[in-house]
């Protein structure tokens, strides 16, 4: 930074962190400082801001010169008594940045304190140089000079306003940073309902640019997005009351199929008159995780079949469905691999696991999609069949038995012959699932006791 702005070439790079944020107009301050210097008849007037650390930061100068921040002097100026008018410059050590600016030594100083919160050592420093040219000491001029002190409150107020603007701008900047960088889509509808703001994330969802928009632009984009949702009808109904109830808070998932957005909306500061905020949170990944967790909780890890818990949950639902529709009674099949313990003992657990997987696959291939084949544990399986008459049920049971025995299961430890036994029952009246399965279990026991590799039925009517 050149010491005399007008006298030396400009350097393109600022050397100091700029005390003055770009964009704040200094015109008012410059005008005030110019006027005050002329009114006081001073040669130079420097206006600066200084806080507790005493470091004076340049605000404005008349004539227009660039002075650099300086320490020490501001608190000393504040401590001095200026009520009797200017003091000799020798009483103070003027900082070198000021001295170098002056083309003659300073003769007198006068200081107008303008303490403001957060910058209590601020003020305006009037400087008279030595060997002054003669000036007209008319009463008008003297009268003007005596009134210069009245400018202090104006200067203070300017500093406060400036501080307020700076803080507002900083707050706004911080808000912008946050608004732009949060991973959520954000829409802010201003309280007056005319315009709104959308951030970058939201702009991507809306396929428009971020920033300030009219409310109708935003409403149109939001409606378009909502109408693409699988649950569009539900959402339309959900948001209908918003048109009347300003203070409503709502949360819903907008299901766009490939994309699921959890959308929360609430009035700003709890009052609809302040405006409304919409937060769009991408929960697609969460949904996939949830879905996977649900599957994991419902299935048997080894075979991929339903597990015991899911079997009972789905079984109860199936019975209720049968009760409601009055269709054919639900049939229950209990299946068990014969001599499974011996297979494990002879071929090892790994081979045993392979047998379980292969038999599961064979059984499943013989069943319809809606038949609820499950692994209840160990080598024990169960199936619930619906909508089938007794002969149909028996036929399926027999097919399952044959499928299991159709060919040896080849494992890394050798080919293994597998047989299964099956107990079959049909539901009696409004019999519970537990009762139904108990009877199927009894039939299975009978199949085992009868020599295994067979189907034993406990049906409503004897088959001929």
């Amino acid at each position: 930074m050149p010491p005399l702005a007008a006298a030396s070439p400009q350097t393109p790079i600022p050397q100091t962190p700029q005390a003055e944020p770009a964009g704040i107009s200094n015109d008012g301050l410059d005008a005030l400082v110019n006027f005050a210097r002329r009114a006081a008849g001073a040669d130079v007037l420097l206006a600066f801001e200084a806080g507790d650390d005493g470091l004076a930061k340049p605000l404005s100068a008349s004539p227009k010169i660039d002075f650099m921040p300086f320490g020490k002097l501001a608190p000393m100026l504040h401590a001095a008594d200026w009520s009797q008018g200017p003091l000799a410059a020798e009483m103070f050590n003027l900082p070198s940045t000021i001295q170098v600016l002056l083309d003659r030594p300073a003769r007198e100083l006068w200081f107008l304190p303008a303490p403001v919160p957060e910058a209590r050592f601020s003020g305006m420093l009037f400087i008279w140089l030595s060997n002054p040219p003669p000036v007209c000491e008319c009463s008008f001029r003297l009268g003007m000079r005596d009134q210069v002190g009245m400018l202090a409150p104006v200067f203070s107020q300017m500093l406060i306003d400036r501080g307020t603007i700076l803080r507002k701008r900083q707050a706004m900047q911080r808000f912008q940073d946050l608004f732009g960088s949060v991973p959520n889509g954000v829409v802010i509808i201003e309280g007056h309902g005319q315009s709104g703001l959308i951030n970058a994330q939201m702009a991507m969802l809306f396929a428009m640019s971020a920033g300030e928009k009219t409310v109708s632009e935003i409403a149109e984009a939001m409606r378009a997005l909502r109408e693409r949702c699988i649950n569009a009808e539900f959402l339309t109904e959900l948001y209908r009351p918003l048109q009347r109830a300003l203070d409503l808070e709502l949360r819903a998932v907008w299901d766009l199929g490939h994309l699921k957005l959890e959308v929360e909306t609430h009035p700003i500061l709890g009052n609809g008159r302040n405006g409304r905020i919409w937060l769009f949170h991408d929960v697609t990944a969460q949904h996939i995780v949830d879905e996977n967790l649900r599957k994991l909780a419902a299935t048997d890890a080894l075979t991929g079949l339903w597990n015991r818990r899911q079997f009972f949950a789905a079984g109860e639902a199936l019975l209720a469905e049968q009760d409601a529709s009055g269709s054919e009674p639900v049939a229950a099949l209990m299946l068990d691999i014969d001599y499974f313990k011996a297979i494990n003992d002879r071929y090892g657990h790994q081979a045993g696991d392979e047998v379980l997987r292969e038999i599961s696959a064979r059984l499943k291939s013989m069943l319809r999609h809606q038949d609820q084949l499950s692994r209840l544990g160990g080598e024990e399986f169960a199936v619930l069949l619906s909508g089938l008459s007794a002969p149909g049920v028996v036929e399926i049971a027999e097919r399952l038995r044959q499928a299991a025995a159709s060919a040896p299961v080849s494992t890394a430890d050798g080919d293994i012959e597998v047989r299964i036994s099956i107990g079959v029952t049909q539901r009696r009246g409004d019999e519970s699932l537990v009762m139904l399965l108990q009877r199927a279990d009894k039939a299975l026991y009978a199949a085992k006791a009868g020599g295994r590799n067979r189907v034993i039925c406990d049906l409503l009517a004897d088959l001929v």
Binding site: M1, P3, P9, T16, A19
Partner: protein, 269 residues
């Protein structure tokens, strides 16, 4: 509260009526004067210190706003001169240290009676009618290098500054440089290289002795000639040395000149 002199690691030594104040250059601290110190101490009262941001724990004294210009350092110097009662002292400055002395002297004519500038420059940038030695693009590259990897930058920069293949001096310079916090070093380098004291220099009222190395990557001899022509009372000795730090690499050559230029002063005193 500790005095500025204490906080800037001030030290007084030597015997003599006249006070010599030594102001080191960029990347150095007061230990840079070791080669000249015996000569000074046997003739003068010697005042040394570290500029803000330099020396051990230099960051404690550094304020990015206050020290964003040479004048912040000049104010520190004026405070020290006041504290140690050094009226009419001889100020010996190296590089930026000499220009800080110029600023202080212009601000307060009473304190400094003579300035010795070793490899000083009022402006490092080339201008239409002035050859400072650097283009802005070169300086921007230097700042970028410092900001990107301070250590790597120093490994290339220091040998250039030292200018002679003297490993001990290079190591010593690196030791002083690495005491600085890299961000402060960058801010200070930027402040120095972008500074323009050309309009201030002619306002010096005290005599100036200029010592300019024959070959110096930071300051061309043309700059020394320019200064001699602009300062009212200036003498120039171009010394037959290479590098920007002749007081470290060739103290004898400096002493040679000092004997000639300063001896009449302290003998008269």
């Amino acid at each position: 509260m500790a005095t500025k002199f204490d906080r800037l690691h001030g030290r007084i030594s030597g015997r003599g009526k006249t006070t010599v104040v030594l102001g080191h250059g960029f990347g150095c601290d007061q230990t840079a004067w070791a080669g000249l110190l015996p000569w000074f101490e046997s003739r003068f009262r010697v005042v040394m210190f570290d500029f803000a941001g330099c020396g051990p724990d230099g960051e404690a004294n550094y304020d990015p706003l206050r020290h964003g210009s040479l004048f912040g350092h000049a104010d520190d110097l004026l405070e020290i001169l006041d504290e140690v009662g050094a009226e009419n002292c001889i100020y010996v400055g190296h590089s930026v240290g000499s220009m800080i002395g110029v600023a202080a002297s212009v601000a307060n004519h009473r304190t400094i009676s003579k300035i010795v500038m070793i490899a000083g420059s009022p402006c490092y940038l080339n201008h239409e009618d002035y050859q400072g030695g650097f283009e802005q693009a070169e300086l921007n590259g230097l700042y970028d290098g410092m900001a990107t990897n301070f250590q790597a930058w120093a490994a290339g920069f220091v040998p250039l500054v030292v200018g002679v293949p003297d490993h001990e001096v290079v190591d010593e310079f690196c030791r002083m440089l690495f005491q600085m916090r890299p961000d402060i070093a960058l801010a200070m380098a930027r402040m120095i290289f972008q500074s323009d004291m050309r309009v201030v220099l002619p306002r010096l009222e005290c005599p100036v002795h200029l010592l300019q190395p024959l070959k110096d990557m930071a300051v061309p001899v043309a700059v020394a000639n320019w200064m001699k022509s602009r300062i009212g009372d200036a003498t120039l000795d171009v010394i037959p040395t290479e590098g920007h730090v002749p007081h470290i690499t060739a103290p004898a050559a400096i002493i040679d000149v000092l004997e000639r230029r300063l001896t009449p002063l302290f003998e008269a005193a």
